[in-house]
Amino acid sequence: MALIERQSIVEGLIRILGKENVITDEQVLKESSLDRYRKYEQVCEVYTQPIPAAVVYVHSTEEVADVLKFANEYQINIVPRTGHSAIEGGLETALENSIVVDGSQMNKVLKVDQYNMQVTCQCGVPLQDLDDMLREQGYTTGHSPQSKPLAQMGGLVATRSIGQFSTLYGGIEDMVVGLEAVFPNGKICRIKNVPRRSVGPDIRNIIIGNEGALCYITEVTVKIFKYRPENNQFMGYTLDNMKTGFEVLREVMVEGYKPSIARLYDPADGAMSFSHFAAPGKCVLIFTTEGPAAIAEATAAGIKEIVARYDECEAVDPKYIEKWFSHLNWGPEQIAQEREEIRATQNIGITTEVSGCWDCIYEIYDTARRRIMEEVPDITLIGGHSSHSYINGTNMYFVYYYNIVDCPPEEEINKYHNLINRIICEQVVQYGGSIAHHHGLGKARAHYVHEEYGSSFYMLDTLKKAFDPNGIMNMGTLIPLRK
């Protein structure tokens, strides 16, 4: 695809960024050709994707613009990257001689504006560092995805990330105030920070969730909130049926309560975290509330009143939930341990997150789960939980584990992972939900983009053609490559 050879690409990049910022070490290139979508290949150190020409470190918006202009001129595929925590193939270098543009060294917090309650930072600021810094000052981003110890601000915005406290704070799209991004022709666009405006379409949403397929995010301004953990309230319940659990969640949302966490685990998924208090076969329902003391208490009281109407729900000691709450996130240590376990047991765990309105979410959950049990070999666990609720519906986070049996690493993705993804996507499409709630489409689920978008695919396709006419931005992500 690229109009120049690998060596010329590297030389061009060195001219722009200097030798020290252009990495061509073979192992780095291999590891940069994929993300955790191909977790088993990563563990086995088998690399099936085209190896990029270089990984480059950028330090300013202007450098990003120069690299993109160069790539645009010579039609070289660009894969934008910050924290490298993607899990849907969004970071795979699908074309030969791609350039991985790593923004992790653009890691300055530019302004903490406590009066206007917003913080501006470069794309490579780690969310954990940002939130730790804010918490020391009595504030928080309110954004806490499980990948918080790994993810960085640019990638979080690019994938339309959501945090575990979303029911109160919203997804990243509700937090982003303003942005700066670079388009393939080198054009730098800034969207100013205002509380709201009515000046045509909300163009922030061209950038939020673009998954690196339209532009490169260089700067982000997000809202901040008061941090008051001392007011947190925790509630937990066990119950027999997921259907009842969805009804409780719906009622909490419809009545207008805003817990920071509202979660429903099925017995299989719940057993991994709650078997020390939930009997086998029990579902687990969890709520936390936060904010000013009066609001946190009133929200908790309202939720308790709703749950009390369901005889099936039995309250558990809140301390169980408080302990669970303090171990929510995944960092490098957990990933290292997971790799060791996969190597030892050949058993691997994956997740797929989808969403649906209240009238279909149970059917999505139930039919997908049943099909996976029947159609996928070597399954050791299939379960799921709802963790982000809205007034009109909720998400379902499928969690599944399987043993890898008689299967070379390069075939695992099709024998197991893609088969399960396909079943889930088919059931979601059948019932009218969305095939991706917060991980992004990446390359893993880009094949279902037409079913997902329907007639509105025209708009996505037009955006891609308009902003990236030469097709250099993370090709294969959002829109699949033509074979």
């Binding site: 057993a271 975290s273 086998p280 302990k323 399954i379 050791t380 584990y401 043993n403």
Partner: protein, 274 residues
């Protein structure tokens, strides 16, 4: 057929405890009741090693009878069901009632020895060398002593030698020993590499997971129960180990200068002492 008895413990996941959770209660214990449960890692190694004996090769043709024994409440049943799905032949849980046996290795060892002599009649007993909580590393040794059997410690790998003997790899001072061991013997499993317990498929869970669990009480083991009233040690005090770290920021203009300061002020002296 070689009979294996596998006593195992289910323990709270101590890594899930935060610093403030380590507060001592009046009875000098730490409350772990709100903590998720997990296999004791050394026992997990023992269980997996017992399964590996039946894996591949000529040795895989030997027959083994595996009896898993644990002392604990209802939450342990979930773990026993996993072993049932992994086709363990016999599953036994001894309910200790109100007795707290976490720091009573002499009681647990008596119980295991009595169970071995009166019910299981094993050729080998495979068990982890210690638990994360009790941390005494003496239950296997006490069990062997009570039975009058030899005990091999720090076992890191097992293979079948023939129908009646095992080839046992173990860590010894400065090296590794491999010995062929005849029954009866207690094998105390040490720090074995990569011995996570394999995971049963859902199909096997459905097919074998409902195998009945034999439920016994502590009173079924009068010898062990009698020891409860006369502890051989009394806990008098506990104090946390002081763990303090401090950091120094090395300031210089270039990485080379920083490296020079690091070497001169912090590494050189230490390296000279090696």
């Amino acid at each position: 057929m070689m009979k294996l008895l596998l006593p195992f413990s289910i323990t709270p996941d101590l890594e899930a405890l935060s610093e403030e959770d380590w507060a001592l209660q009046p009875d000098l214990k730490v409350d772990t009741s709100f903590t998720p449960l997990d296999w004791n890692s050394f026992d997990e190694s023992a269980l997996e090693m017992s399964l590996k004996l039946s894996d591949n090769g000529a040795a895989g043709s030997f027959c083994f009878y595996r009896c898993a024994l644990t002392v604990g409440g209802m939450p342990s049943d979930r773990f026993l069901k996993t072993l049932a799905a992994l086709k363990f032949d016999e599953l036994v849980r001894v309910d200790p009632g109100d007795a707290d046996l976490r720091f009573r290795p002499e009681v647990v060892a008596r119980l295991i020895a009595d169970f071995a002599q009166t019910q299981a009649h094993p050729d080998f007993i495979l068990m982890g060398r210690q638990t994360q909580v009790g941390d005494n590393a003496c239950t296997p040794l006490l069990t062997a002593e009570l039975l009058g059997w030899p005990c091999v410690t720090q076992v890191t790998a097992l293979e079948s030698a023939d129908e009646h003997r095992l080839r046992v790899t173990g860590a010894v001072d400065g090296g590794t020993s491999v010995q062929t061991v005849s029954a009866p013997c207690v094998l105390s499993i040490g720090d074995a590499p990569c011995t996570y317990l394999r995971v049963p498929t859902l199909k096997d869970k459905m097919a074998y997971g409902k195998k009945p669990i034999t439920l016994l009480k502590l009173s079924d083991f009068p010898g062990a129960e009698a020891l409860l009233s006369s502890p051989n040690a009394e806990l008098r005090s506990l104090a946390p180990i002081r763990k303090e770290r401090e950091g120094v920021l090395i300031e210089a203009d270039t990485p080379e200068e920083k490296a020079e300061i690091l070497y001169r002020d912090y590494l050189k002296g230490r390296l000279n002492r090696l």
